[in-house]
């Protein structure tokens, strides 16, 4: 390989010419690596000798790449501004060909667009609000489309792609069982352990069961399960639909007469709404089991006493309320996950952003919805 392995570097020799001219004899190899160095040295020499004209003799150059030739052209342009004409003497055939290839005007042409300068704080805040408002409009428009699609399918249940629904039931539900079970068990265990340290001092060991049951069934079961499903499924929905948009698959669906929201979003929504309440019940069981382990091993409670106390604490209303919450959370997860996917317009890099946004936005909305439920249920109960 020519320059990279045997790059011997360049050499400069200066000779004065009659009539106030200066001749710089360039030798060796002049490549990208040396461009800045020799250009500075040449300019230094010109500044020192202040010649009437400059001749750069290229006869001794063994190798000059395009960056080297660029250096010559830049030097010529700079000297021209100072009124010093420059001539390149004895260029090799290769150097001449490279010179022909370089667009001399292009080197000086200013960019068609100036680089984006950092924005001021007011501009940044204003732009963030505009983006937030636009996002809100898009999310709500998609919600309207989704409700319209559901309404249509209510009258035409055979139009629902039930195979896809079952596929996503497996994806969002069955495949999530191990992680949901493990995390719920550990959360039940942690709550029981931490509360037992305090309640033991008052001899109120048995209330650990009540505390765990209440915390798990009313709040932590639904919300933790929803967050886990948002992490697993909202991201997957956004990535899947986003990739389909990039590859024009969504447009292909439209050309075949399918309504993309009915085809892609509704099965995911139905599957999530079906599995999240079941996963929540499953999480409740594991959460209480986590507390049971602490109760039996650390608080001298019998399993029967622990479960009886748990059962006494949880009312049917609380259980039903947690399932209703799970249904709403499921709707939010599928709604945001699919909307973020459909929002993808550009290339693959937008798919990554949509995936992240799907998780963040759905978790944020889940927490907001949970707060609304907490207040509403307080007054209802």
């Amino acid at each position: 390989m020519k320059a990279r392995s045997v790059d011997e570097g360049y050499s400069l020799k200066v000779e004065s010419e009659a009539g106030g001219g200066l001749r710089i004899i360039l030798g060796g190899s002049v490549t990208l690596r040396d461009t800045q160095g020799w250009l500075d040295r040449m300019e230094g020499l010109v500044g020192k000798h202040r010649p009437q004209r400059l001749t750069v003799d290229l006869g001794g150059v063994s190798l000059m790449d395009s960056a080297g030739v660029l250096g010559l052209l830049l030097l010529e342009q700079r000297l021209k501004k100072s009124g010093i004409p420059m001539t390149a003497a004895s260029p090799s055939e290769q150097i001449r060909k490279i010179m022909e290839l370089i667009d001399r005007e292009g080197i000086e042409r200013p960019p068609l667009r100036s680089p984006k300068s950092p924005e001021g704080i007011l501009e940044t805040i204003g732009e963030a609000w505009v983006l937030l408002w636009r996002d809100f409009i898009q999310v709500m428009t998609f919600l309207g489309d989704l409700i319209a699609a559901l309404t249509h399918l209510l009258g035409h249940p055979r139009d629902v792609r039930w195979d896809d629904v079952l596929f996503y039931v497996r994806r969002a539900g069955a495949e999530g069982l191990p992680i949901v079970g493990l995390i719920s068990l550990l959360i039940g265990f942690i709550i029981a352990f931490m509360s037992s340290l305090q309640l033991k001092m008052f001899g109120a060991n048995v209330y650990v069961a009540s505390l765990v049951a209440l915390a798990i069934v009313r709040e932590l079961g639904p919300i933790m399960t929803a967050i886990l499903v948002a992490g697993r499924s909202a991201s997957a929905f956004a990535a899947e639909i986003g990739s389909m948009r990039v590859d024009d698959e969504v447009d292909a669906l439209k050309t075949m007469g399918y309504e993309p929201i009915r085809f892609l979003a509704v099965p995911k929504l139905l599957a999530t709404v079906a599995v999240l309440p079941l996963l929540t019940l499953y999480a409740d069981v594991f959460g209480i089991a986590g507390g049971l382990i602490v109760g039996v091993t650390g608080l001298d409670l019998t399993p029967y006493t622990y479960l009886q106390e748990s059962q006494r604490t949880i009312t049917l209303f609380q259980l039903l309320a947690s399932l209703v919450k799970a249904v709403v959370f499921a709707f939010v997860i599928a709604w945001i996950g699919c909307q973020r996917g459909f929002q993808v317009r550009g290339g693959v890099e937008e798919v990554g952003a949509a995936t992240t946004s799907a998780v963040v936005t759905s978790i944020l909305l889940i927490v907001i919805v949970d707060s609304v439920f907490a207040i509403a249920l307080y007054y209802v109960s």
Partner: protein
């Protein structure tokens, strides 16, 4: 045509196997300094696999690839990086980084070369973009450019370090005839102007006829080379039905 110059790439007994499937078997070829070599063949014949093996992205299942006399499969990372600095690749999908401006994309290979001042890099970026007729577009993002412009931008990046060898994977894929012709002119200009050795993988017979000094045809069934020679020589002496089919069917298709 008798190839002139020294071989810069030597492929010896190259085999490419993916699981049970053998795509290439015992392929031998040489790429000579300063030539434009086109590797043609139908879909699935192993053109892109051969290209990726030549640039060290896929390890050969058998045989070896010598670039500048060095076996790239056996080379250590430093040697491989040195060899890769002498190679430029224009991928089929342009592979420009969407998060960077065109100028930043072209500057990327130079950022890795130590000791270059930002001013030098900026000047070289402008020159390279000018060479591919994209002067002034350094602050544009790839998504703001047309397919043809992105391809030319990717070419500017591929030739940022004046590589000795440039590889093109289906250069005219997705381009209209005018953009494809412009790219062909650029390929020839780079070959003549910078003396760059060029290897093109394509199934476009037109492109091959216009730019190639030498053509190699791969065949899926044969799992290797079934014909090689200068484009016109191949057309005149095309006795192999697979070669005839490939060369002339495309032309028939266009004249209909």
């Amino acid at each position: 045509m008798t190839p002139a110059g020294e071989p810069v790439i030597v492929v010896e007994g190259l085999t490419a196997r993916f699981g049970e499937t053998t795509v290439l078997k015992d392929v031998n070829l040489e790429v000579y300094k300063g030539e434009i070599l086109c590797i043609i063949g139908g879909s699935g014949c192993g053109k892109s696999t051969l290209l990726k093996q030549m640039i060290g992205l896929i390890r050969p299942s058998g045989g070896r690839v010598l670039v500048g006399g060095v076996d790239i499969a056996a080379a250590d990372d430093d040697t491989l990086n040195l060899i890769r600095r002498g190679i430029g690749v224009l991928f089929q999908s342009d592979a420009l980084f969407g998060s960077m401006t065109l100028g930043e994309n072209v500057a990327l290979p130079m950022d890795g070369a130590s000791g270059l001042l930002p001013g030098t890099i900026e000047a070289v970026v402008r020159m390279k973009l000018g060479m591919v007729h994209l002067g002034g577009y350094e602050n544009h993002f790839p998504t703001e450019l047309s397919g043809g412009m992105r391809k030319r931008g990717a070419l500017a990046r591929a030739m940022a370090l004046d590589p000795d060898i440039l590889f093109f994977d289906e250069p005219s894929a997705g381009l209209d005839p005018l953009n494809a012709a412009e790219l062909e002119t650029l390929i020839q200009g780079i070959n003549v102007g910078l003396g760059t050795t060029i290897v093109i993988v394509s199934h476009q017979v037109d492109l091959v006829r216009r730019v190639a000094d030498r053509v190699i045809m791969l065949d899926r069934e044969a799992r290797g080379i079934i014909a090689s020679g200068a484009p016109e020589e191949l057309r005149k002496n095309a006795t192999d039905p697979r070669l005839r089919n490939f060369l002339f069917r495309q032309e028939e298709g266009r004249t209909k």
